[in-house]
Amino acid sequence: MNTYRASRADQKDNKPKMNSSGRAGSPRLGRRIGSGAVLLFLLIAAIVTLFPIYMALLNSVKTQGEMLTNILAWPSMPEFGNYVDAFQKTRYLRSLGNTIIVVAVGLTGIILFSSMAGYKLSRTPGKLSAILFGLFVMSTLIPFHSIMITLVTISKELRLQGSTVGLGLLYIGLGVAVAIFLYHGFVKSIPRELDEAAVMDGCGEFRLFFTIILPLLMPITATIAILNTLWMWNDFLLPLLMLTNYKSYTLLLSTNMLFGEYNNDWSAILASLVLAMLPVIILYLALQKYILHGIAEGAIKA
């Protein structure tokens, strides 16, 4: 179900509901005070939520001196030098590129491999299929910190440590289990007759999957893509352990390094935080509808 459409739908439903409760005799004044209090509470909550982001934005265009005199005031003259500074110190474009490589490698692998596995596991009856599916589901409760030590050792052995592509490959191994689970459930909604008809027409297994099934999996693929992109983009600990050379640093690692090195230079740090947030916020505002829907869907099914 589409969240946006759903919210539109119950807006329409709101009116008769208000009328009916009005008839039930609830005093109109009390109701108005009540909804005023609700709005006030939500406004305060929204201000608290946005306050850190607002403060970061505001003070990222001030000089250090101006920040000290009045931290809440608007800058007398916007100082964009902080951004130039942060841009260079975090090697912004390279860090952004590294992050994109990691996410792209991980996402491609997760979607391709889990859709294949999830589809066939869902379609094949029998013991082997059940055992394999159980094997994947089994791990979903294991906390990352319980496997990270050996994972780092293994990635050293395989010479993956220090490489952004290598990190992407690790994410494939960590991400497939949940994705297979989601695909496995979704495939059940696709009629089996479709497969049978295609096979009868002489369509091979792979062609059947890639040309007929995969496009039909699109809704759940979108959910999986959103959840995994958010996870990999914002993950900090694994890159921290894996990417040992600053040349392969992701956005988060570069920001963390800047924070460590220029501990008191808040203007540059805040500018770098804004720069690090920028891609995510743009993506969020552009794809909000899909993201919120994907989040709800993923959580309820998983």
């Binding site: 946006y4 759903a6 919210s7 119950d10 439903d13 509901k17 009916s20 039930a24 009540g34 609700v38 509470f41 939500l42 929204a46 608290v48 939520t49 946005l50 306050f51 850190p52 403060m55 970061a56 692998g109 889990s114 294949m116 596995a117 589809y119 029998g126 082997l128 299929s129 394999l132 791990s139 294991i142 906390p143 910190h145 319980s146 496997i147 990270m148 030590i149 050792t153 293994i154 490959l169 690790l170 191994g173 497939v176 289990a177 297979i180 999957f209 914002n234 993950d235 900090f236 600990l237 988060l252 920001t255 808040w266 740090i269 690090a276 993201i291 919120l292 989040i295 709800a296 309820i300």
Partner: protein, 293 residues
């Protein structure tokens, strides 16, 4: 087995193999490897190590700092469990009661969830160490005039505030989805019968969103036992080791100062055991209540 079954299973394996290879290498192998290393004295560097039985586990149980981090984490989990779910339900119910403006509030409340808690943590660090002292100067309020990062009694709440800020929106979205699933007729019927808003919530909405509550509690338990980023960004576990959570304790044991991979693995297995047991209990208890409700 017939040849058709053989063929079917062979095709299955071809489809599953790519995922299985990555999964085996980067999830199964480390899980079993970690279990094995937890019984050894491996230091992560040399190739030689020997099995030492349960010594690591015995040591962990007597490790003052590990136990402290365990207690700190449990305290954190309990606060999160209550506050995160109560706030998320409250926001979900109030936002859903609005008209057109609900879209705006939903967008705003979810926004922090899009950001890494490392980024969020540094922004809150600025609030706690720069903005609060300024506000304390201007207003004289005690609230602002505390050492929110430096004093472990207060930094617990700083970590909590950051985690709530970054986590409530996610649960709110789940609860909103659940509330939208509650049939309108039920609420209308209750309203016609003269029930007040709170009673409608308590006796109609809440029982209907019980399955979502199971998810919310599950997600909160799971994520807050593993809390790492928000502590790392705000205090790094300090001052000293006073705000260490389990994940930070394991991380430091393995990678920061001692490199005792075997010992750290034992702690990691204890964390796994705790998460497993609590999840099983939680799901069993809440599923039973769900049926009753």
């Amino acid at each position: 087995m017939t040849s058709r079954t053989w063929k079917r299973n062979a095709i299955l394996l071809v489809f599953v193999l790519p995922a299985l290879v990555f999964y085996a290498a980067f999830t199964l192998a480390p899980a079993f490897g970690g279990m094995w290393y937890s019984f050894t004295d491996w230091n992560g560097l040399g190739p030689s190590y020997k099995a030492i039985g349960l010594s690591n586990y015995v040591e962990a149980i007597g490790d003052r700092y590990f136990l402290k981090s365990l207690w700190f984490t449990v305290k954190f989990v309990l606060y999160m469990l209550v506050l995160q779910n109560v706030l998320a339900i409250l926001l979900a119910v109030l936002v859903e009661s609005l008209g057109r403006s609900k879209v705006w509030f939903r967008t705003i409340f979810f926004m922090p969830n899009m950001l890494s808690l490392i980024i969020g943590g540094f922004m809150w660090m600025f609030i706690f160490t720069r903005v609060f002292p300024y506000l304390a100067d201007k207003t004289g309020w005690m609230l602002f005039d505390q050492s929110w990062i430096g004093d472990p009694n207060y930094s617990f709440f700083a970590i909590l505030a950051l985690s709530l800020w970054g986590g409530v929106g996610y649960l709110m979205i789940i609860y909103i989805a659940a509330i939208q699933g509650v049939p309108k007729q039920l609420k209308e019927a209750a309203a016609i019968d003269g029930a007040h808003a709170f009673h409608i919530f308590r006796h109609v909405t809440l029982p209907m969103i019980y399955p979502a509550l199971t998810i919310g509690v599950f997600l909160t338990l799971n994520s807050s036992f593993k809390v790492f980023d928000s502590v790392y960004a705000l205090t790094g576990g300090g001052p000293g080791r006073s705000t260490q959570v389990i994940a930070i304790n394991i991380y430091e044991e393995a990678f920061s100062f001692s490199n005792r991979y075997g010992y750290a693995s034992a702690k990691a297995m204890i964390l796994f055991g705790i998460v497993l047991i609590i999840t099983i209990i939680q799901l069993a208890v809440m599923k039973r209540r769900e049926v009753r409700a």
